[in-house]
C-alpha cells in the first residue's frame, strides 16, 4: 500500500483549531507513548484480575491464541472498511451485513448442494463470497452511487439504512435462530484440536489464520501489481486527478464495495464453524471491525490488520478476566480512547 501519510482524504486534511489533529506532527508523537503506557497499564490490569482467578501462563496463552483468531476476522472486516473509505470517503456501516451474509448464504448453499462433502462446502463458501460481493456491488450502485453528492452524514445514514434493510431481509429469510456450519477440517460439528503446552488449538483456527493471511496478501498484490489496483489507489490519493487521468472513479468505488463484500464474507465464513451464525451477527462484528479500522487510522491496510489483531487479543484477555457481560465494553471504551488519543490513528503517525 502507498504511504498512508500521502493518501489522506480531503475530509480529514482540514484540522480544526481545537481538534486534537491541530497539533504539529511533533505534538503527535507523545500520544503513541501515552498509548504504550495505556497498553502496559491494561496488561497490568489483566494480570491483576487474572491472578484473582488463579490464571497462569497457559491460560493467558490460550486467551492470546483465541484472540488472534477473532482478531483475524476483525482485521478482515477492518480492511473492508478501509478499502471503501479510501476510495469513496464513506464509512460503510453495511459492512457488518456482508459479514453476516457470507456464512448464512454459505450454509444455505451447502444444504442445497446436499449438505455433505468437502467439495460441496468449498463450492458453497466460494459461491457465498461471490454472492455477497454481488450484493455489495448492488448496494453501491443502487444507493451510494446515486447519492454520491450528498453530505457525509447523509451517506453514513444511508449505509445504516442499508444495514437495517439487509439484516431485516436476513431475519425474514433465515429466522432468528442460530445456524451451524461444519468445521472445514472434519466437515462435522466437532472439530479436531491439538494441545501444545497447555494451549488448545482448533483446526478451524488454522483455517482462519491461513485464509485471513491469504486474503490480505492477495489484496496487497492486487493493489500493488495490477492496473485496476493501482487505479483504485490513485482514486484514494486524489479523486479529481484520477478522473483527469481517465480512471472511472465511480467504477472503482463500486469495485471497492465488491472487495469489501468479499472481505466481510470471507471473515464471516471462516469464523462461522466456531460461532453459530445468526441474522444479527453482523452488528457486533461490523462495529468491532470498525473499531479495528479506526485503531489503524482508517486509511491504512497494515494498520487495519494490526488494529484487528490487537483488538482481538486485548478483547480476549479482557473477556477472560472479567464478567462475561462486560466483554463488549472493551472495544467501545477503546474506540473512544483511540479517537481521543489520536483521531488520525496511531500507526500512521510513524510515517510523518
Amino acid at each position: 500500500m502507498a504511504e498512508p501519510a500521502t493518501t489522506e482524504l480531503p475530509a480529514r486534511t482540514v484540522p480544526g483549531p481545537r481538534g486534537p489533529a491541530a497539533g504539529a506532527p511533533a505534538a503527535r508523537r507523545p500520544s503513541s507513548r501515552v498509548l504504550l503506557g495505556v497498553g502496559c497499564a491494561l496488561l497490568l490490569v489483566f494480570w491483576a484480575l487474572g491472578r484473582r482467578l488463579g490464571y497462569g501462563l497457559p491460560e493467558y496463552l490460550q486467551l492470546l491464541v483465541d484472540g488472534t483468531v477473532t482478531g483475524s476476522v476483525y482485521a478482515l472486516v477492518a480492511v473492508g472498511f478501509v478499502v471503501v473509505y479510501r476510495v469513496t470517503g464513506v464509512i460503510n456501516f453495511a459492512q457488518g451485513a456482508f459479514v453476516m451474509l457470507g456464512p448464512m448464504l454459505a450454509i444455505t448453499f451447502f444444504r442445497a448442494l446436499g449438505g455433505s462433502g468437502g467439495l460441496a462446502l468449498a463450492a458453497a463458501a466460494l459461491a457465498a463470497v461471490l454472492a455477497t460481493a454481488l450484493v455489495a456491488t448492488a448496494v453501491h450502485r443502487l444507493t451510494l452511487h446515486p447519492a454520491r453528492a450528498a453530505s457525509p452524514l447523509t451517506r453514513i445514514i444511508i449505509t445504516v439504512g442499508v444495514y437495517i434493510t439487509l439484516q431485516g431481509v436476513a431475519l425474514r429469510v433465515w429466522g432468528p435462530r442460530p445456524y451451524v456450519m461444519p468445521a472445514f477440517s472434519t466437515l462435522q460439528m466437532a472439530d479436531r484440536f491439538v494441545e501444545v503446552g497447555g494451549v488448545t488449538l482448533q483446526a478451524q483456527s488454522l483455517w482462519v489464520w491461513g485464509v485471513g493471511l491469504l486474503t490480505v496478501v492477495g489484496l496487497v498484490l492486487f493493489f500493488e501489481h495490477t492496473v485496476v489496483g493501482k487505479a483504485m489507489r490513485a482514486c484514494a490519493v486524489n479523486r479529481t486527478a484520477a478522473r483527469l487521468m481517465g480512471i472511472r472513479v465511480d467504477r472503482m468505488a463500486t469495485l471497492a464495495f465488491a472487495l469489501a463484500g468479499v472481505l466481510g464474507a470471507v471473515g464471516g465464513v471462516v469464523l462461522a464453524p466456531s460461532t453459530r451464525p445468526t441474522y444479527d451477527m453482523g452488528l457486533d462484528l461490523g462495529l468491532k471491525g470498525f473499531v479495528a479500522a479506526i485503531a489503524g487510522g482508517l486509511v491504512s491496510l497494515p494498520g487495519a490488520v494490526a488494529g484487528g489483531l490487537v483488538l482481538g487479543v486485548l478483547e480476549s484477555l479482557w473477556a477472560g478476566v472479567t464478567v462475561a457481560g462486560f466483554k463488549d465494553l472493551f472495544a467501545f471504551v477503546m474506540l473512544i480512547l483511540l479517537l481521543l488519543a489520536r483521531p488520525q490513528g496511531w500507526l500512521e503517525g510513524g510515517h510523518e
Partner: protein, 351 residues
C-alpha cells in the same frame, strides 16, 4: 428560515394537541375509531415522548451539525434514573416519607435531567473535539457503553439496581397532590405539554444569537470561530441540552410504560431516533413532531393495515421497510418532510 420565534404556528399546534386530547378525554377511543385503529392515545403519547428527544437531536444534528448515534443512551439514563429512584427507593435508603410523596418522582425527573445534562457536558467537552465521522463513532461507542452498563447492572450485580436484562417493573404513575395523572388520556396532556415546551425551548434557541452561532457552526467551524463563536463550548452546551431533553423524555417514558428494559435504549433505538429525525427534517424544530408522528404512523400502518393481512409476516418485514424507508428518504429527500413544499406552505401560511 421560518418564523422569528415560536409564534402562531406553535399556538396552532398547541391548540390542535389540546383539541385532540380534549376529544379523547371526553370520549375515550374516539381517535382510534375515527382512524380505524391507526392512531391511539398510546401512539400519540409515544410520538410526544419522541418529539422531546428529537427537538434535542435536531438542535444537535441539524443545527450544530454534530451527529449523534447514541442518543437513546440519554433517554435510557433518564428512564432508569426515574425507575431506580422510585421503585428501589427503599433499598437506596431514601425515607418512605420522601419516596412516597407525590413530588418525589418529579424531583427525580428534574435531578436526572440535570445530572444527565452535566454528564453530557463533561463527555461533550472531550468528544466534541472530534468532528464528522469521528464524532458519530464516539457517540455510537458511548451509546453502546451506556447500554452495556445498564444491562450489566452497573457492574454491581449484588445491588441489582437496574435489574439486568429484565429491567425494572412497577414504576409508579406520576401524581400531582393526591391525583394520579392517569389514565392514558390524562397522561397525554403531561407528555404533550413537555413536547410543546421542548419545541418552544428549541425554537427560542434557534432564533437566539446562540442559534445563529449554531448555524454558522454548521456551515464552517473555522469561520464561526473566526467571528468570535466559542465553538467548543457551544457544541458541548447543545449536546448537554439534547441529553437533558432526552433524559426528561426517558423519565416520562418510565412512568408511562411502568417498566423499563435496557433493550429499549440500545444501539438500534439510537438509529431509530436518527431515522425519525431524518424523516421529519433535521434542520427544523418542526421536523421533530413530524418525524416522530410520521415514523410511528408508518410503523402502525405496516403492522395493522398492510402486513397485518398476511399472517406471520407482520413483525418480520418491519425492519426491512424501516431500512428501505431510511435509504430512500436520505437519497431523495435528505432534508426530510419539512422540506416539502406543502408542509412549508402550511407553516408559512399559519404564521
Amino acid at each position: 428560515m421560518m418564523a422569528r420565534a415560536w409564534g402562531r404556528t406553535w399556538f396552532l399546534a398547541a391548540a390542535a394537541v389540546a383539541a385532540v386530547g380534549g376529544v379523547e378525554l371526553a370520549w375515550p377511543g374516539t381517535v382510534a375509531r375515527l382512524t380505524r385503529g391507526l392512531v391511539s392515545a398510546d401512539l400519540l403519547i409515544r410520538a410526544g415522548l419522541f418529539t422531546v428527544v428529537l427537538v434535542g437531536l435536531n438542535l444537535l444534528m441539524g443545527y450544530a451539525g454534530q451527529a449523534s448515534l447514541g442518543q437513546a443512551a440519554f433517554y435510557g439514563l433518564g428512564a432508569f434514573a426515574s425507575a431506580i429512584f422510585t421503585v428501589r427507593a427503599q433499598a437506596l435508603g431514601i425515607p418512605p416519607s420522601v419516596a412516597g410523596a407525590w413530588w418525589w418522582p418529579w424531583l427525580v425527573m428534574l435531578l436526572a435531567a440535570v445530572a444527565v445534562g452535566a454528564f453530557a457536558l463533561g463527555v461533550g467537552w472531550v468528544i466534541l473535539r472530534l468532528r464528522g465521522h469521528y464524532l458519530a463513532m464516539a457517540t455510537l461507542g458511548l451509546g453502546i457503553i451506556v447500554y452495556i452498563v445498564l444491562r450489566e447492572n452497573l457492574g454491581l450485580p449484588h445491588l441489582n439496581l437496574t435489574g439486568g436484562f429484565d429491567g425494572i417493573v412497577g414504576v409508579p404513575r406520576l401524581r400531582v397532590g393526591g391525583a394520579e395523572l392517569w389514565p392514558v388520556q390524562v397522561y397525554y396532556f403531561v407528555v404533550w405539554a413537555a413536547a410543546l415546551g421542548a419545541m418552544a425551548l428549541g425554537l427560542n434557541v434557534v432564533h437566539s444569537p446562540a442559534g445563529r452561532a449554531l448555524r454558522a457552526l454548521h456551515g464552517s467551524e473555522l469561520a464561526a470561530e473566526s467571528v468570535g463563536v466559542d465553538v467548543g463550548r457551544l457544541k458541548a452546551q447543545i449536546f448537554a441540552l439534547s441529553a437533558a431533553l432526552a433524559s426528561v423524555a426517558g423519565s416520562l417514558y418510565a412512568h408511562f410504560q411502568a417498566a423499563v428494559v435496557p433493550d429499549t435504549f440500545g444501539f438500534v433505538p439510537s438509529l431509530e431516533l436518527v431515522v425519525m429525525s431524518a424523516v421529519g427534517g433535521m434542520s427544523s424544530i418542526w421536523g421533530a413532531p413530524l418525524g416522530a408522528l410520521a415514523v410511528l404512523l408508518l410503523e402502525q400502518l405496516l403492522r395493522t393495515h398492510v402486513l397485518g393481512f398476511v399472517p406471520a409476516v407482520s413483525g418480520e418485514l418491519e425492519p426491512v421497510v424501516f431500512g428501505l424507508m431510511l435509504v430512500v428518504i436520505m437519497m431523495f429527500w435528505p432534508a426530510g418532510l419539512v422540506s416539502s413544499r406543502r408542509v412549508q406552505g402550511a407553516v408559512w401560511a399559519s404564521r
